[in-house]
């Protein structure tokens, strides 16, 4: 796949934007960016390096093992050059991440999922709300300090059920 060529092309597209190269275990070309440079980098990579489609946008929670806490990972695919590029951006807990939805509409759900699962807010995303958990959920499940079995998983259902019984089955209250 020629990861050296991928890196060359990507770095050429990024130009003066601050970035660094990371060596990853699977040999995929990986660049480390910061939230300040990420937005422009994504635009440059789409328009100048030929990355027509995003593969994934996700996050990793490194709670306790390092600061900043999160890593936002973007992975792009270029059909013309048949290669992939990964971008890793360290993000602190209350920091906002630039969105990619103006470049690729398909990033909308990916970013909503990151918000839902990690609590990362994407700046510029029109309609950033929860994707997988109910709207009123209140927790961010994939964070490392959230227990696997959840916290009050049936809270929303119980509240709904209380209202339902009060309204439709008042005789059960006695």
């Amino acid at each position: 796949m020629g990861n050296a060529q991928t890196l060359e092309r990507a770095r050429a597209a990024l130009g003066t934007l601050e970035h660094s190269v990371r060596d990853e275990r699977d040999g995929l070309a990986t660049l480390a960016l910061s939230t300040a440079t990420l937005g422009q980098a994504l635009e440059a990579l789409k328009t100048r390096a030929g990355f027509e489609t995003p593969t994934l946008i996700t996050a990793i929670d490194w709670l306790g093992t390092r600061e900043p806490r999160f890593d936002v990972v973007h992975q792009l695919l270029s059909l013309a050059h048949n290669d992939r590029l990964r971008l890793v951006t360290p993000v602190a807990e209350d920091q906002r991440v630039p969105t990619a939805t103006h470049l690729w509409p398909g990033a909308a759900y990916m970013e909503r999922e990151c918000y839902d699962m990690f609590g990362l807010v994407f700046e510029g995303h029109a309609g950033l709300k929860r994707l997988l958990m109910p709207e009123e959920y209140g927790w961010h499940p994939l964070r490392k300090d959230f227990p696997h079995q959840g916290i009050e998983p049936d809270r929303i259902y119980r509240e709904w059920d209380r209202k339902r019984r009060a309204e439709w089955h008042p005789e059960e209250a006695r």
């Binding site: 300090d145 227990p147 009050e152 998983p153 049936d154 709904w160």
Partner: protein, 202 residues
């Protein structure tokens, strides 16, 4: 879970009443119209059961109407999540009496392999269940076996007594109250509470 007394031992067993009961039960058990609540993988096996090889039409049950108002057997096939739980309960409530529930697969029986923050640990936390079918997914034969067991259970019901105001469905089959507490919902000791849990502050 409901009484399983054999037909002969019930009181109020006049000849006519038991015959009417038998007739009504025979009609009901041989025309169980399933409401397939096909949530995940078990839904595919449910479709296979409706398909040509396993064919629940032999048992009068091929009229799988997708509206709960027209069905009497709710087959909860697949994992129920808490987000879906309100919809499932609404579907159950919309079904007219008499109605029965088969919990197909381990996910709906007990939460299955998912002991996570989003999965209901058994659909009997929110609905009364008549037959549980283990398996991940259970073979269609196993679900047909469940339908047969349900038919035997229906044979033991007393619809005439219920009609004449003696008993209620809840008396016969158990109520829809929680039979066991769902996952993590009610901590048994204060040490079971997670530090982030709001109840820990008390």
């Amino acid at each position: 879970m409901g009484s399983l007394k054999p037909v002969q031992e019930t009181d109020g067993g006049s000849f006519l009443a038991t015959r009417i009961d038998e007739l009504v039960n025979w009609g009901r058990k041989n025309s169980l119209w399933p409401m397939p609540l096909g949530l995940s993988c078990c839904g595919i096996e449910l479709m296979a059961m409706i398909g040509p090889k396993f064919d629940i039409s032999r048992f009068g049950a091929e009229a799988a109407r997708f509206s709960p108002r027209q069905c009497d057997l709710l087959v909860v096939a697949g994992t129920l999540t808490w987000k879906m739980a309100t919809a499932a309960r609404l579907i159950y409530d919309q079904m007219p009496e008499p109605k029965w529930v088969i919990a197909m697969g381990v996910c709906s029986s007990s939460g299955g392999m998912y002991d996570s923050y989003a999965v209901v640990q058994g659909v009997d936390s929110i609905l009364p269940v008549d037959v549980y079918v283990p398996g991940c997914p259970p073979r269609p034969d196993a679900v047909i076996d469940a339908i047969l067991k349900l038919q035997k259970k229906i044979e033991r019901e007393h619809p005439l007594a219920r009609l004449l105001g003696g008993t209620t469905l809840a008396d016969e089959r158990g109520s829809g109250q929680l039979t066991h507490q769902p996952n993590g919902a009610v901590p048994k000791t204060k040490f079971d509470l997670h530090p982030h849990d709001p109840r820990a502050r008390r």
